[in-house]
């Protein structure tokens, strides 16, 4: 049987467009390597104008933009292409996009020095370098044309992939200039456009990656198809850190289509002719596990540990004023907020396809961290890094899960025992039970009030230091800068302000970045506490916040606007409430109001969401809106349902029936308003996630008077009391 009866067609999309963006018909070229074409060296520039790592212009005029960040739904390919094309003055109809190969030097995120997509900083970090890359290339093209025409470069302009000499009306296309431009010396200090001259940036252009996503042609990592490929799935030890004891594969081997059972120390893989054989084979395995010490650990112990750790003093991350005195003068209010473990549950289950050839190794996957996949694969394969080729793909959701290389590493360990390429796909159950989880956090805030304002604020964060594992050099002096990010970066004016961090790793459970990252926890604790303090002060939550935003006009402006748009203060029916959340994270300023109803039985109905964002220059305002809409739903899903629990060292949830997602019939109208701004762009992908939970919690507080301090929302606590 030939598993490659058809290879998914990887081709140019048909040209589609409409509305405002109808003028820009973009040819989006999907990466071809998914269909196993020979790999081109990444820096091959023959016959092309390749002024830098991001831009290639062919003599045909085709302009290839290389994407240093990965597309996982956040629209970054479109935004990056818009920024490059803006300064390049490229004609978007001639542009194709390509995934970047692994190369930290060329494509590393300037913030991390690593080729990583995360922390909502693609646009923030690449805004300047990409503009410079585009502008430099344009200057070289103009110089080439000027040279040819024997005119001053300053007398030429560029537009839509053409250089024009205005006086004479002559013009040359970028394709025609490609060769000549290649020999131009790289220019220095090319001035960037004034934002008022932007033609693309700031427009709600149609995304370049979507046409192939509505007709089944888009190729994700899980869609890699190679000649002679086998399919595998894994059964990993259900207990974290446990090992395989004995494997009885008699029944599994009898299943038609099962080719091989690969036993590794911590997991067993079944390799077959297709996923069904692999899956049936996996079900038929009889494995005894050597569960190890973690088999004793459960959620109860984990919470006990964390609570006692959070009682300790932490490392001081920031201290302003005199916190001791501040807390001593006046009545002290203190509250602790607790957040559970969460799985990522991206819709595309984790997977990787590997062809191990003995002296080289090739990987097809969708990852947020290209170079780390390459180096970790090299280690697992026992090969030098330059013998490892990584082909990146579109990601069916990342959310931080694909900042880890574990799936590729496991696939390599399996592929080493398989002839030819093998695609390893985790079942949803294995994906959820072998995630790298958003850590449990316990945050304690103590505060005093004076004159209706906060006089002192002591905030202690206790939880995992993900950076200590993920980027050890970034973990210094006992402080995880991610875990305290939005604790330190407070929008409110508070004279005595103090933040501590207690490093407390949960036993057994691996933790990692989850959409919203550190601020996800901080914003929840801060904004819940703000509502409780407003209540103590007898103030309206919006007014209370507003009075302390004097030094933060951008924050105050979005708060004012969201109050207006949400009808803040207008009367509501009983058991309906509005909750507000203000957050300055990722250099964006966002205010959100959630309106929710809590019925007598404690069930929460979302009624309306308003969100106002000042993210600086919104490269593509429609994408900004989409990210907030989606992020809010992502965060509200967690607030309403999200919790991974541990019993006997095992994750108890397994699939969408017990790790629930919000569905379309539970989602209300969401209105996002993007404020016009000339400031540099802020981050956006994670902000909505952080806004949803505190705003909802505060709405429930307003509706019921119950101040919840843990997520997910416990319906029993907010049901109307029985008579």
């Amino acid at each position: 049987m030939n598993v490659l009866a058809k290879t998914p067609e990887v081709s140019r999309r048909s040209l589609l467009g409409g509305g405002l963006a109808g003028a820009f018909l973009i040819a989006f070229h999907l990466p071809v390597r998914a269909s196993n074409e020979p790999v081109q060296p990444p820096d091959s520039t023959d016959g092309k104008f390749a002024p830098n790592a991001f831009i290639r212009i062919e003599e045909s005029g085709r302009t290839i933009l290389v994407m240093p960040q990965v597309e996982m739904g956040q629209g970054v390919y479109t935004a990056i292409a818009m920024i490059l094309a803006e300064e390049l003055d490229a004609d978007l109809t001639q542009v194709s996009l390509e995934h970047a190969p692994p190369n930290d030097k060329l494509y590393g995120n300037p913030t991390f020095g690593l080729q990583v997509t995360g922390n909502s900083n693609s646009i923030r970090a690449f805004w300047k370098p990409l503009r410079a890359a585009g502008a430099n290339a344009r200057a070289m093209l103009i110089a080439a044309a000027a040279q040819q025409w024997q005119v001053e470069p300053a007398s030429c302009t560029a537009s839509k992939s053409k250089v024009i000499h205005t006086e004479s009306g002559r013009s040359l296309s970028y394709g025609e200039l490609a060769l000549a431009a290649s020999s131009q010396p790289p220019p220095k200090d090319v001035p960037l456009k004034d934002p008022s001259q932007f033609v693309y940036v700031g427009q709600p252009l149609k995304r370049f990656d979507t046409p192939d996503k509505v007709n089944g042609k888009a190729v994700y990592g899980i869609d890699a198809m190679l000649p002679g490929m086998k399919f595998a799935t894994v059964v990993a030890c259900p207990v974290f850190g446990g090992k395989v004891g004995t494997v009885d594969d008699t029944a599994a081997k009898k299943i038609p289509g099962v080719q091989k059972i690969v036993v590794l120390d911590d997991m067993v893989a079944v390799v077959g002719d297709h996923m069904w054989a692999a899956k049936k084979g996996a079900d038929a395995l009889r494995i005894t596990w050597d569960e190890g010490a973690n088999a004793r650990i459960g959620s109860k112990e984990i919470w006990q540990d964390l609570r006692s750790a959070s009682e300790k003093d932490g490392a001081v991350a920031k201290s302003v004023g005199d916190i001791g005195n501040g807390l001593a003068s006046g009545e002290k209010f203190e509250a602790s907020f607790e957040l559970p473990f969460l799985a990522h549950a991206a819709m595309e289950p984790i997977n990787a396809t590997v062809h191990f050839r003995g002296d080289s190794c090739e990987v097809w996957t969708g990852t947020q961290i290209m170079t780390r996949v390459q180096s970790e694969v090299a280690k697992a394969a026992g090969l030098p890094v330059d013998k490892v080729i990584v082909n990146n793909h579109l990601l069916g959701g990342g959310f931080g899960r694909k900042l880890e290389p574990d799936m590729a590493v496991a696939a390599v360990r399996i592929a080493k025992q398989v002839d030819g390429p093998v695609k390893v796909v985790w079942t949803r159950e294995q994906d959820i039970q072998h995630d790298v989880y958003r850590p449990v956090y316990r945050d304690t805030i103590a505060a005093t009030l004076s004159d209706g304002k906060i006089a002192a604020w002591k905030y202690k964060v206790a939880g995992s230091a993900i950076l200590a594992r993920w980027l050890p050099p970034a973990f210094q002096k006992g402080i995880d800068i991610d875990a305290i990010d939005a604790a330190v970066d407070m929008p409110y004016d508070i004279p005595n302000f103090h933040v501590e961090y207690v490093h407390a790793e949960p036993p057994a459970v691996p933790t990692g970045f989850w959409r919203g990252v550190g601020p996800n926890n901080n914003v929840f604790a801060v904004e819940c506490m703000m509502d409780e303090l407003a209540h103590k002060a007898g103030k309206d939550p919006v007014e209370f916040r507003r009075a302390m935003l004097g030094k933060n006009p951008r924050m105050r402006a979005v708060l004012d606007l969201v109050a207006e748009k949400s009808g803040w203060g207008q009367p509501l029916s009983p058991r309906v409430g509005r909750g507000v959340c203000v957050q300055p994270s990722f250099a964006s300023f966002i205010a959100t109001v959630v309106e929710a109803e809590v019925d007598e039985r404690g069930e929460v109905e979302l009624r309306k969401i308003n969100c106002v964002v000042d993210t600086g220059i919104a490269v593509n305002p429609d994408t900004v809106m989409a990210q907030l809409e989606g992020g809010l739903i992502f965060g509200l899903t967690a607030a309403l349902y999200g919790e991974i629990t541990i019993d006997r060292g095992r994750v108890q949830q397994s699939n969408f029936h017990d790790y629930r997602m919000l569905r379309i019939d539970q989602v209300p109208k969401i209105e996002v308003h993007v404020v016009k701004s000339g400031e540099p762009p802020g981050g956006i992908g994670e902000t909505g996630v952080n806004a949803g939970p505190p705003a909802l919690r505060n709405a429930i507080y307003a509706a019921t008077g119950v101040a919840l301090r843990r997520l997910p929302i416990d319906r029993r606590l907010i049901a109307a009391k029985k008579a």
């Binding site: 149609k206 509505v214 089944g216 289509g257 991206a346």
Partner: protein, 153 residues
Amino acid sequence: MATLTINGKLETFDAPPDMPLLWVLRDVLGMTGTKFGCGIAQCGACTVHIDGKAVRSCVLSVGAVGNREITTIEGIGATPAGARAQKAWLDLEVVQCGYCQSGQIMAAAALLAATPHPDDADIDAAMAGNICRCGTYVRIRAAIKQAANGRQS
């Protein structure tokens, strides 16, 4: 050898009858537009049409299909409802990561074919089985309405 009619074409393949249609499409026929999300009919990523009705291919054994007509995301553009849905999806920029969207569009196309002018309750009834982790629900609802009304963006 077994046969199926997929997007109007007769396909011949070799697979055991208990194999879910999803894996026949993806792994045997290489039609990867139909996605695997949960394998237990809880997410809708694998939705295809069987005789025009939306069905979860991850729990439908290929042996049970018989000679009913299968339509997948690769072929849905050829149906009027499918083409309208795809266009509305692009006009309103519904898609984020896109992984769930094959299933969303298949479910929407089946809805539009059966109920040309769906109200909110019809949309809920037809679409609540499809999870979108990126949270594109608000736009999905708007796109279905636009596809039904034939309005341009």
